[in-house]
């Protein structure tokens, strides 16, 4: 999902060739760039945008799963789902603070999300219609996120890389609990297996779209690769994901909804059918089935929480004043 963070990123810079060369030498030497280091404005802007979109994706990503917490079929499932959704909130917070080191405030980022100016991953604009979706989301959506996030642990920007290391440590649980849900359904009654298959049918293609446009259509990819913000192209990551996931579906006895999917011996990977990029761009531009609901829910949470934030600050101020008076 996170390569979608580059859509619309503007990596253009106006710095002198000497400055850019010096910076590039540091990157090529695998030096990490830290917040107070000198950096091209384009590098900073690209990161603010990408980390911000990544953070928004984690936060909005809590909604489709939060939808099922009260309806989880057992206490074990409920506890796991609750813990997963709480982790996603944590991921959002790690990422917001990484972005803040680049001089953008939490409030600015929140406003950009709520106004629709900032994007988040297109995947979260699809609805979670059945319990099986809690399994499929963990298995495929977190699975795709892991593919994207592991190379980000080596991103050239220190705070982003460090945040991703924490995130990656927690993601494995997300994917495994999801796969276990799908496995239980796939090995259950015919109706349960059908529910799992229906869910896979709906989530397969949107999951492939999480990796972003094909390399040939990805405008900002080259600069991000040169700056080592990105380590693999969209198509490379998508291919890795497909190759890892197909055998997992086979084990479950579920069918990937792509008639063109077949093993290609020569390349040592699967070939897949065409992706519906019209749908992708529609969803990215905010016309996904759940886009309005997602932002409405975030806006409601932000507005309803205003009095809490104000009261907490007022309380802190009162305590400070009392302490000064006592001194």
């Amino acid at each position: 999902m996170y390569s979608q963070g580059l859509i619309g990123a503007d990596g253009r810079t106006e710095e002198t060739p000497e400055f850019l060369e010096r910076f590039q030498r540091r990157i090529d030497a695998e030096e990490k760039i830290e917040p107070k280091d000198e950096m091209p404005e384009g590098y900073r802007r690209t990161l603010v945008r990408q980390i911000g979109q990544h953070a928004h994706s984690e936060i909005v990503g809590m909604l489709p799963e939060g939808n099922w917490i009260t309806r989880a079929p057992s206490l074990r499932r409920k506890a796991a789902l609750l813990a997963k959704v709480q982790d996603e909130g944590g991921h959002g917070l790690y990422l917001y603070s990484a972005a803040e080191t680049l001089g953008v405030s939490r409030e600015e980022m929140t406003e950009e999300l709520l106004s629709g100016k900032a994007k988040y991953s297109s995947i979260f604009n699809y609805p979670t219609l059945s319990w099986a979706d809690m399994g499929t989301v963990g298995w495929l959506v977190d699975g795709a996120a892991i593919m994207n996030q592991i190379p980000l642990c080596r991103c050239s920007f220190g705070p982003y890389a460090r945040a991703m290391i924490r995130v990656c440590k927690e993601e494995s649980f997300h994917q495994r609990q999801g796969y276990e849900i799908v496995m239980t359904l796939a090995q259950g009654t015919p109706a349960q297996k059908a529910m799992a298959q229906d869910s896979l049918n709906r989530w397969w293609w949107p999951s492939l779209m999480m990796f972003g446009p094909h390399d040939a259509d990805s405008q900002h990819s080259d600069q991000s690769m040169a700056w080592k913000i990105k380590r693999f192209t969209n198509d490379e990551l998508r291919q890795k994901f497909i190759d890892a996931t197909v055998p997992q579906a086979e084990y479950l006895g579920l069918t990937i909804p792509d008639p063109d999917l077949k093993w290609n011996e020569a390349k040592g990977g699967y070939d897949h059918g065409p992706i519906d990029w019209d749908e992708f761009w529609r969803v990215v531009k905010g016309h996904g089935p759940m886009a309005k609901d997602r932002i409405k829910a975030r806006k409601k949470a932000w507005d309803d929480g205003a009095w809490v934030r104000e009261a907490a600050l007022a309380h802190a101020e009162k305590r400070r004043a009392r302490k000064i008076a006592a001194e």
Partner: protein, 94 residues
């Protein structure tokens, strides 16, 4: 827009005997809420047994532009390292 909520840096000691280590930052109105949030955000899987929170504004950092003059002089003072001194093998380990 409402007032901004202050930023805090979070340090965690993984276990007794180790130093507190910087793990990240968070926003909170005061130190009490900062500690509570730090517990929720940074210690969900037994990452530590002690937390420090420090207002980010209270940290003074060295200037990256002065990295060379601050830290490079140590590189040519090799006489600060034990291997600079020749001690005969007969003396034994020292």
């Amino acid at each position: 827009m409402t007032a901004t909520t202050p930023l805090w840096e979070v340090f965690i000691r993984p276990r007794n005997g180790l130093a507190h280590k910087h793990v990240g930052s968070l926003h909170a109105a005061d130190e009490v809420m900062a500690l509570q949030s730090a517990r929720d955000v940074y210690t969900r899987r037994g990452e530590g047994n002690s937390i420090w929170v420090v207002p980010s504004a209270a940290i003074t950092a060295s200037d990256p532009d002065q990295t060379a003059e601050n830290f490079e002089p140590t590189a040519d003072k090799i006489y600060r390292h034990p291997t600079f001194y020749e001690i005969p093998d007969e003396v034994g380990h020292m």
